[in-house]
Structures are given as C-alpha cells and as structure tokens.
Symmetry: C2
Subunit: 269 residues, 2 copies
C-alpha cells in the first residue's frame, strides 16, 4: 500500500504551521482501492485487538481531536465498529462537571484510561484543557501554560507502565467545516448535532488553529507522536487511522500467553 | 514553642542516612507542656480546615508512611480526630487488587486525591510502589526506577492545580518496632493487627531503610518536602505532625470567599 504513516506523524518538538498541511488527500490511491484496503485493515485490527486482549499486559489509548464537524464520531463508528466492544471503550469528554472542576484537569482523564488488554478511545481528551480552555480563557494563563509539561509527564507515565498512546488530529479547512455545518442544518437526522455555540467556536477558528499548533509543538515525541490526518476525504481519513492503529499494535510485541500445561496432557472428562 | 519544623524537613535532593536521624525526641519540651501545645494546635487545625472548606479553591494532601507498628493509625486518630469528617477523608492503600494492577501505579491513587476544599490523608500511598514493590521485587526493576520521576511529576501536577502535599515519615528504630509488635501479641485488643507477614517484613528492615533513603533523596523538594518525624515518643510525634499541618495550612493563603452582596441589604422575610 502506498501509504507511509511517518509522512503524517509529528515526532519531535518543533514549530509547525498546520495551514501548510493538506486537509485533503491527493495521493495515488483511488477511492475504490482505498475501500478495499480499509476493509483488510479493519479485519486485521479486530484480530490484533483479540491478541492485545489475550496478551493482557499492555493497553492502547487512542486520542482523537479535531475542530467541530471534522468527523470524529464517524471515524470512531467506522474504524472501531468491527472491534469487539468487550475490549474497547470509547469515552467522550464533554464540559467538566463541578466535581471534575474541583480536581486537577487530569483527574477525570486518569480514571478512564484503558486497563491492560483493552483499547480506550478518547473522543476529545485532556488536550481540551490547553485548547478550548486556552482559547476561551477558562483557566488562568499561568496554569494552562504548565499543562503541556503535565500532559507530557502523564503520557510518559502511561507509556512506561504499559499503555501505548496514539494521537490523531482530523485536519479540515474552514470551508469544509462550513459545508459540514450547513449539512447538519439541512438534514433532519443531523440537526440534533448542531448548536448555536458551533458558530461561536467557528468564529475563533484561527485561535484554535494556533492552540493546536502549540500542542503539536509541545506535546509530540518519537514515543507519543501526533498524526495529522487529512480528513476531507472520509475514505482516506478512515484508511489512515486504521493503518496507524494496525502498525502501532503490530509494533507492541504482543503475544498469546504461554500455556502453563501441555494441551496434549489434558483429557476433557 | 520551641519547635522549628524546618529542622525535620528534607527539602532538597541529596543523599541521606536515616540511621543518623533521631527516632526519639530529646529536646527541651516536657511531655505535659507538649500535651498542652498539642491541644492548642489541634483546635487551630480544626479552624483552618473550616477555612480550607469555605475557601474551596485548594486542597491538602497528607501522605503518611512508616515501618509497621510505627503509629500511623494512632497518629491519624489523634491529629485528625477533631477535624470535621465532612471535609476530611482518610484512604488506606492496601495490596492493589487485580483491576488496580491492570493500570499504572498512580491510577488508583489519582482517583482518591482530595477535591478542592478538602483534606485527604493517605495511610500508606504511591510511595509503596517504590518501597515494598522494590524490596520484594514485585515489579521489574527498570519500571520501578522510572517511578521516582513519575511521582515527582504527579506531585507537581497536583501542586500546580491547587493541592498542597505534605509527606510524613514516622521514624522508629528496629528495637522500638520489636516492642510494639510484642505489645500487639500480648494485648488481646491489639492482636488483630498482627500478622505473621510482619515478621517477614521486619527481616527486611535494612532493605526498607535503604528504599526510604532513596525516596527521600529522589522525591524531596522545597515545594514538596518530606518530614522525618521522631516517632518513639507519641506525644511529640503527634505534636510535630499537627504543627507542620497548621503551618502548612497557614501558608496556603486561604480566604473566606467574598459575599456577592452586602449582608445589610438582605432582609430575611
């Protein structure tokens, strides 16, 4: 397959201009071939998840971030749909409640990290605490500024204790968002997803893009890279996410546990 | 009062020999005066806890570590007994269960940190993950070695987000422990606290002392010092712990929230 996931990874701390990164895949793979490749990858993903579960000593945490209407929900449905839900939990982080706000910003997050053997998918995440919180001044600046280091330390903790983290940013343009939001307004079954606050958030588009650039600069490393996913062709978005997940799981050295007995010695009575 | 809490604090990273630190207070305060001072301090502590609760923007986390039979339970009963339990929660960390073991070592800890306005007391803590876990090889050495940094990062997170941490080591000699364990064997109401594993742990006394020395060297800072409490005179042990807590709370700049109205304008109908 003509995709090198490294082309989409940010693996080191350096300034980045996301406006210079494509939001639309323009490579050689055709849509039809892409669908076929995706089906193969999703089948592999389901098998690897079963192996992760059996291995039981490691876990995978998938962090999904994006501007509104970029397709987070649909990515989750498409990519994780075929995965056994017994070993896969999706957690959506909405506005923190009063008990959550009475603790550090990672308190509610840490409770929801996947146990060993499981995949955890974060639909939005602790990164919101340096994105919306920063853009809308929901916490003092000096507290927000310290959070990048706290995030890196938290990710190191998880990594060192057996949780592999993969972070995706579904990258779209402001025009694409407009079309998607209009689609929600025009489609009765999608209307429930629209709120007037979407318009307010959209008006801060540049602030959000800048906040994301700071995240990518401060919170990327070889062990815990960000993947910037061109998300305006849905089939490619899903394909790239699935490919990264498969390659990540394949790199985790997962094994079926050795039996403590010789199966030949066992006679089922 | 003739006690300077700084004399008992380890506030920087440096090698330390705890066998050279007194386990028994031999200063100028007499027991009777000590009792009187303690009563005053505990009354102050109760008032400061009410202020912490009203302020509602910060919390206090008290970490209590010691060898077996050094008096952790009795310290908690004496010092925190008079504090309003609505704003004070004691959490004892025993052997981790299977779900806890399937997560990083700070997962069960983080869930139990105090919310703002509250005092949390940890009877044993995440430090066990570099003490008993290290001494008894319950996790791979290379994982344990990374935990000191993870602990420091975790404490920085809590500190930066509003939780003050105070760490106490109740310091006793091996002879003193022998007397206390014998007392448990000889006293029907204390016998339940004795287990044969106490003898096993006691046989590793030196290993534990060394593991504690590493903790004090690697996890002490001006913001999050360890206090080494000479614990063989119970009245002084309680006195020093109460004094550190009172001075810590006094340093936290706690305030009753300003009323959003003028009380004179309010007429109760």
């Amino acid at each position: 397959m003509n995709i090198n996931i490294k082309d989409y990874a940010i693996s080191e701390s350096k300034p980045i201009k996301i406006s210079s990164i494509d939001t639309k895949y323009e490579g050689k793979i055709e849509k039809e071939e892409g669908f076929k490749l995706f089906e193969e990858l999703v089948a592999k993903l389901a098998k690897l998840q079963a192996l992760l579960y059996a291995d039981g000593s490691k876990s995978l945490l998938v962090v999904l971030q994006a501007m509104d209407a970029a397709g987070k929900d649909s990515t989750i449905r498409k990519v994780f749909g075929p995965v056994n839900p017994q070993g896969c939990k999706v957690v959506s982080f909405k506005n923190p409640n009063s008990i959550e706000l009475a603790h550090d910003f990672l308190w509610r997050i840490h409770q929801n990290v996947p146990r060993h053997g499981h995949i955890g998918v974060f639909n939005r995440s602790y990164y919101e605490d340096v994105l919306i919180v920063k853009v809308k001044n929901l916490a003092p600046k000096e507290i927000v500024n310290k959070r990048y280091n706290h995030i890196n330390a938290f990710e190191s903790l998880l990594t060192d204790e057996g949780t592999k983290i993969v972070k995706f940013f579904l990258h779209i343009s402001k025009d694409y968002q407009k079309d998607r939001l209009q689609e929600r307004l025009d489609t009765p079954e999608k209307l429930w997803k629209f709120t007037t606050s979407d318009i307010q958030e959209r008006s801060r588009w540049e602030d959000y893009q800048n906040a994301y650039e700071t995240v990518f600069e401060k919170c990327s490393s070889p062990k815990n890279p960000w993947y910037i996913v061109p998300a305006e062709r849905k089939w490619f978005r899903n394909l790239l996410v699935a490919k990264v997940l498969v390659e990540t799981l394949e790199s985790m050295d997962l094994k079926y546990p050795k039996a403590q007995f010789d199966p030949k010695d066992i006679v089922i009575p």
